[in-house]
């Protein structure tokens, strides 16, 4: 059963009482919230996600977003995220309750799911190969990801890439894409039908808007992908679109800096990063125009597929 099949009143009721069970990628969540905007956010952005079947009783993460217990609930209404009874993050204004949930879920994955190597990276896939896009915040990673998934690429992840430590494959965690400031109109310009929230203001990041993950990406959320490219994107105002091969040594250095649980995994992180570098082509990518950027990636997917398959065949032999 999908979340959108729950009538709104029933969703609100479940959410406010025992909570709603959801599957996102490899994780099951139980989300509980008495704040109406969280129910609205879930209905808008998680409509295609599977909700609990009757016999489901296990959740990886038990989370809640609720008004804090203190008097501040009346002075300046806030929303607090809790992970099974602890509050690891600073509260946000009530209007950002859904953003609080998203941030909280990222916190859960990056502090708990150490059975994966976790990268600060977006991941998209086309023709069977995944492009891993590790980048610092503000580098235009989410904008590029939104552009690509609106042009037929499959969304595996917008912020956290989960690398299987045994196989080196990427596990999907398709969730709403978080767009910031100037990228909101850019994505709108590329595809006016993209489902975005109204920009929410008053956050540390400026204004943000969420984009709904494509239906097809959610349907295939249990299907891992073989990494094909490691691309380090950078949005530079008024720059030419440029894809430049990058040395494996340099790529490795930057990749380990983006590995969130590098210190927890130690030598294991080093090994998995090496494996990822070895099986991918590495590039630097600079862009300012989203449509041109998408065209470059499409060419990459079309041309590289054949050579990579050859490479795979050679390895199989």
């Amino acid at each position: 059963m999908k979340l959108l099949q729950l009538p709104p009143a029933e969703l609100r009721r479940q959410l406010a009482t025992s909570g709603v069970w959801l599957r996102t990628g490899p994780f099951s969540l139980r989300v509980q919230s008495r704040i109406p905007s969280v129910a609205e956010g879930l209905a808008k952005f998680y409509g295609q996600f599977e909700v609990r079947s009757v016999q489901e009783v296990f959740a990886d993460f038990h989370v809640a977003v609720n008004p804090p217990a203190s008097l501040r609930r009346w002075l300046r209404p806030q929303a607090t995220f809790s992970f099974d009874g602890i509050q690891p993050l600073k509260s946000l204004p009530r209007g950002l309750a859904f953003a609080m949930l998203e941030r909280g879920l990222n916190w859960c994955v990056s502090t708990q799911a150490h059975h994966y190597l976790i990268l600060n990276a977006a991941v998209v896939e086309k023709n069977g190969f995944a492009a891993v896009l590790p980048a610092l915040p503000g580098s235009g990673k989410s904008t590029l990801t939104a552009g690509l998934v609106l042009s037929g690429w499959r969304l595996l992840s917008d912020e956290l890439a989960l690398i299987d430590r045994k196989t080196g494959w990427v596990h999907p965690l398709p969730r709403p894409i978080c767009l910031k400031n100037a990228s909101i109109p850019q994505v709108h310009a590329l595809n006016p039908d993209a489902f975005l929230t109204h920009p929410l203001h008053d956050t540390a990041k400026g204004s943000i808007a969420y984009m709904r993950p494509p239906k097809e990406s959610v349907r295939r959320q249990h299907e891992p992908a073989h990494p094909g490219w490691l691309v380090f994107p950078k949005w530079v105002a008024e720059s030419e679109t440029e894809l430049r091969p990058r040395s494996k040594q340099q790529s490795f250095q930057f990749l380990t800096q983006q590995a969130i649980n590098c210190s927890q995994l130690g030598a294991e992180a080093f090994r998995v990063c090496t494996g990822l570098i070895e099986q991918t082509d590495c590039y630097d990518f600079q862009y300012s125009q989203l449509d041109e950027a998408v065209a470059v990636f499409d060419r990459l997917a079309a041309s590289a597929t054949i050579s990579m398959l050859d490479h795979e065949d050679a390895r199989a032999c």
Binding site: P26, V57, D84, G85, Q112, H115, L265, G266, E268
Partner: protein, 373 residues
């Protein structure tokens, strides 16, 4: 009587972990995370040959926790060696205590064990030199408020905690295992006389086996904080399981408890390790608790020793934890010292500490800049 938690059942009888339902696991994992025992549970399941039978998502969570714990121990082992290096140069011996000691000595109790701080014991007379060289090596005292500094130095068994300015690890330097003001008074020299040298190191020790168990019991049952109570009780059980290879061991443990003035904490540890974790320690011949004592303490400790998770609490848990907190303070200090101390903590401390916190941050920043050069 409060119901024993799923987690306690799982730790006590790991052979049954394979039969846990998904609903059992949902609760058990949450309790284990709250108690800091996820990786311990991984090893319990592995040793009982149950791990492969667990649901896939349970295996994933336990394996993730295990990786973190293993790596954490590598780092802590390295830190202990770094501290030893600093003290060895001025010829001061050190005994590693608690979690770090289990790791350094390669004990069963170390497997999956997480710990925040490194605890060491040094001779009281060497404290001034130890503080000087540790400070130079980057271990700086964080809390410099005059009141707290005096509180530690005059009454406690340790000096204020030190944090490494670059790596952030926290070091507690002790000169005894209980506060100077506590009712029980073990002699530090007796601990030194029996300490076991670690091979491959000069003047690096862990406590003798009996003393290690007694310290674990004393730390748990003469303290007011029970947030990690179940973890400490599990340490006691595992140390006992590993060391008690002869029937004589429990007898010599009792004798040693008498020497170190730690009979009562030992009696508590045996009672609750048996009751909550099915430790199977022979109670005949062990020190006994008085009847009124157990009537009063059972309701408090059976609650305080559950995992710190809502599913393992009942209506009386907050009251029990408060009772244990008060008891812990009472055991650490006589009333004529304790009452003024609590009065200060409840009133003036906030103002003093804020002013010092600001000054401290500035000093710490200067020190970091200095190390950076």
């Amino acid at each position: 009587m409060i119901k024993t938690s799923r987690l306690c059942l799982g730790l006590a009888k790991p052979m049954q972990l394979g039969r846990f339902s998904e609903a059992d696991w949902d609760i058990t994992l949450r309790q284990a995370r709250a108690a800091g025992l996820l990786a311990t549970l991984y090893y319990a399941a592995l040793d009982a040959n149950q791990f492969d039978q667990l649901p896939e998502r349970v295996r994933a969570q336990l394996a993730a926790a295990r990786h973190v714990a293993d790596r954490h121990q590598e780092v802590m082992q390295w830190e202990v060696e770094a501290i030893h290096h600093v003290l060895d140069r001025i010829g001061v011996p050190m005994i590693v205590l608690k979690g770090a000691a289990y790791v350094v000595a390669g004990l069963e109790a170390a497997r999956g064990r997480l710990f925040g701080d490194i605890d060491i014991l040094v001779p009281h007379g060497a404290l001034t030199d130890v503080e000087r060289v540790l400070g130079r090596a980057g271990w700086v005292q964080e809390d410099r408020s005059t009141y707290n500094d005096r509180y530690y130095r005059q009454w406690m068994h340790e000096i204020p905690a030190r944090r490494h300015a670059q790596r952030g690890t926290v070091l507690d330097v002790h000169h005894n295992i209980l506060p100077l003001t506590a009712r029980n008074k073990p002699r530090a020299q007796a601990l030194w006389d029996a300490a076991l040298p670690m091979s491959g190191f000069n003047d690096l020790y862990v406590l003798a086996r009996e003393d290690m168990l007694l310290h674990s019991a004393a730390h748990l049952f003469l303290n007011g904080e029970f947030e990690r109570g179940l973890r400490d009780l599990n340490d006691f059980r595992r140390l006992g399981q590993q060391f008690a290879n002869t029937a004589q061991f429990w007898h010599s443990l009792k004798k040693r408890a008498e020497t170190l003035d730690l009979v009562q904490p030992l009696a508590y540890a045996v009672r609750y390790a048996n009751r909550l974790l099915d430790a199977g320690i022979p109670e005949a011949g062990m020190p006994e608790l008085s009847r009124p004592g157990t009537w009063l303490m059972d309701p408090l400790l059976t609650r305080g020793l559950q995992p710190n998770h809502a599913s393992a609490h009942d209506l009386w848990t907050p009251a029990a934890l408060f009772g244990l907190y008060v008891r812990g303070h009472y055991l650490r200090m006589p009333l004529h010292l304790l009452l003024p101390h609590l009065l200060y903590k409840g009133t003036l401390a906030k103002f003093d500490e804020q002013a010092l916190h600001d000054a401290n941050q500035e000093k710490l920043a200067q020190f970091r800049a200095f190390l950076g050069k």
